[in-house]
């Protein structure tokens, strides 16, 4: 009985967490779409986003600025995190991946470079910020007493705000990809790189822009996760990154809608599963899902068959 009574709450929590997973997963899937590589440093980009947001919030608190209100503090945290992470993403592409694929490296080269970049970024943050966790003073912005009734259950305003911001960002990206010339160019490069170039698309610039967009969303997700869990450290990108990667594979890697769907599903599966079993197994769930998907439906829920290996 007690388990069933917390189900709606777990469902809402899963949906909210899932939108954030989806936000990170978009970064994996977009980069895979244009380059056919998994950017394993994306989790670290997310982690650095969390640090940038933390830096802004801590700076505001240290400056003893009164009247901190989410309406202006959140944009002030999110925008630098998105810009910083976007630029970091384009730098990764420019210096860690492009030199390899421009020289005709196989798929494995950039992948290993991504793992290296991931270790580099983790250690750079650890050395500059220290190995101890940082604490988001979230309750200054969202007091614990701020709660709302939603779907017959009592949830924190923070959780709702996190889900709305993540949802809006995904919607914004969807509109950009579907309705703008840039989005069309990204889809063209993903579908047929050479034809896109023949249409006059500057492929290198589109790839760099794709990294910027995916990384910016990852940075925003870092701030949202930081706000929600309130504790961040240099290693947080590892498991979040792997889970978002799972979400991207679940939805169908390369498919942006799939990443959103996969993220939300994974969030819900995870939070429902811990209702019925020891929460210590929470992280196991994501990887069980990954193994099941890869075994039974490797192309993911919305993905096309992954047989197209002739395109590099």
């Amino acid at each position: 009985m007690s388990m069933l009574s917390i189900l709606p709450q777990q469902l809402v929590f899963g949906l909210a967490l899932g939108t954030v997973y989806g936000l990170i997963a978009i970064g994996y899937t977009m980069v895979y779409g244009v380059l056919f590589m998994i950017n394993f440093a994306h989790g670290e980009v997310f982690m650095i986003g969390a640090y940038i947001g933390w830096g802004v919030l801590s700076g505001l608190l240290a400056a003893k600025i009164g009247g901190l209100n989410p309406a202006w503090v959140l944009p002030l945290m999110l925008l630098p995190a998105m810009l910083g992470c976007g630029l970091l993403g384009t730098a990764l592409e420019r210096f860690a991946y492009r030199p390899l694929y421009a020289r005709g490296a196989t798929r494995l080269g950039p992948l290993i470079s991504a793992v290296g970049a991931s270790i580099f970024l983790q250690n750079a943050v650890m050395l500059s910020q220290g190995a101890r966790m940082k604490v988001y003073m979230t309750n200054v912005l969202f007091p614990r007493s701020w709660r709302v009734q939603l779907f017959g259950t009592n949830v924190s305003v923070l959780l709702v705000v996190v889900a709305i911001i993540a949802g809006l960002m995904m919607w914004g990206l969807h509109v950009l990809v579907r309705r703008t010339a840039l989005g069309r160019a990204i889809r063209a490069v993903a579908e047929d790189r050479e034809m896109a170039a023949i249409m006059g698309v500057d492929v290198n610039r589109v790839v760099a822009t794709t990294f910027f967009l995916g990384s910016a969303l990852g940075g925003a997700a870092g701030v949202l996760i930081g706000l929600y869990y309130t504790q961040i450290d240099f290693f947080m990108g590892f498991s979040a990154g792997l889970k978002a990667f799972t979400a991207a594979v679940l939805g169908g890697i390369g498919n942006i809608k799939g990443a959103m769907l996969g993220g939300i599903l994974l969030g819900v599966i995870e939070s429902l599963a811990v209702t019925f079993m020891d929460p210590a197994y929470k992280d196991v769930i994501a990887f069980v899902v990954l193994i099941l998907v890869l075994t039974f439906r490797p192309e993911g829920l919305l993905g096309e068959a992954l047989a197209d290996w002739r395109r590099i």
């Binding site: 069309r184 160019a185 063209a188 050479e194 023949i198 249409m199 006059g200």
Partner: protein, 241 residues
């Protein structure tokens, strides 16, 4: 003789260590339809890619309207007024007809929308079928419809020179005639055309001049009439008909 619009001189390209073009020269004058013939792997498609900057020549030069364009990236070359109807059509299969046409006009995306609309209407006038299927996803269309779309997409760039790679490949005989009629119509509207074809007799019947490529070398260069009349050339390169 007017100055050639497109002028390739001794172009050499490699795929890795393998030479694809071994020093070919070719010119196309304003207003012409020129035909490039040759068997499989003779270097026809590579010639197209070398003109567009997708494959970079290691030696020789490519000039368009008097300016060197070899070494420029494809987007710069497209912007100068060269477009390609690629081999096997290669429309963006996951995009709609309208989106494919918009991709064709990618380098003109900051032009006034009214001009782009007018050009789209011109394409639709040429291919009414595309207007009917405007919102259909290109990958679900028939080969003939995709060929129309590939031609329409290239025209959206407002090319002065249109490169066409095997426009009749895989099409029904009736539709082949239609495609060649349309090529002539486009040419009369002021677009210069360089067409690669295996279907030599049909292609030469609308062309003024022809070149024959073999193993990366230009082996014959003559007027279309002479090429059609010369028995030994027909036997050796164009296939017996």
């Amino acid at each position: 003789m007017p100055e050639p619009m497109l002028d390739l001189k001794d172009v050499v390209t490699y795929y890795g260590p393998i030479p694809a073009l071994k020093g070919i020269s070719l010119c196309v004058r304003q207003g012409e339809i020129v035909c490039l013939l040759g068997g499989n792997a003779s270097g026809k498609s590579t010639t197209m890619k070398a003109i567009l900057g997708v494959v970079r020549p290691t030696q020789g030069s490519v000039s368009f309207e008097g300016d060197r364009i070899d070494g420029l990236p494809p987007q710069a070359i497209v912007r100068r007024g060269i477009a390609l109807v690629p081999e096997a059509r290669r429309v963006f299969g996951r995009m709609t007809v309208l989106e494919n046409l918009a991709m064709g006009a990618h380098t003109r995306r900051r032009d006034p929308p009214a001009e782009l609309d007018a050009d789209r209407e011109r394409v639709f006038a040429l291919f009414p079928r595309l207007a009917e299927r405007a919102d259909q996803v290109a990958g679900t269309m028939s080969g003939g419809e995709q060929q129309m779309l590939a031609i329409g997409r290239a025209l959206m760039a407002r090319p002065r020179l249109l490169l066409m790679d095997e426009p009749s490949m895989g099409l029904s005989p009736a539709f082949v005639d239609q495609v060649f009629d349309i090529i002539q119509t486009i040419n009369r509207q002021g677009v210069t055309i360089l067409v690669v074809e295996q279907n030599a007799v049909v292609a030469l019947s609308i062309a003024s001049r022809g070149y024959v490529l073999q193993n990366g070398l230009m082996v014959v260069d003559d007027t279309a009439e002479a090429l059609l009349a010369a028995d030994h050339i027909r036997r050796a390169y164009l296939g017996e008909i």
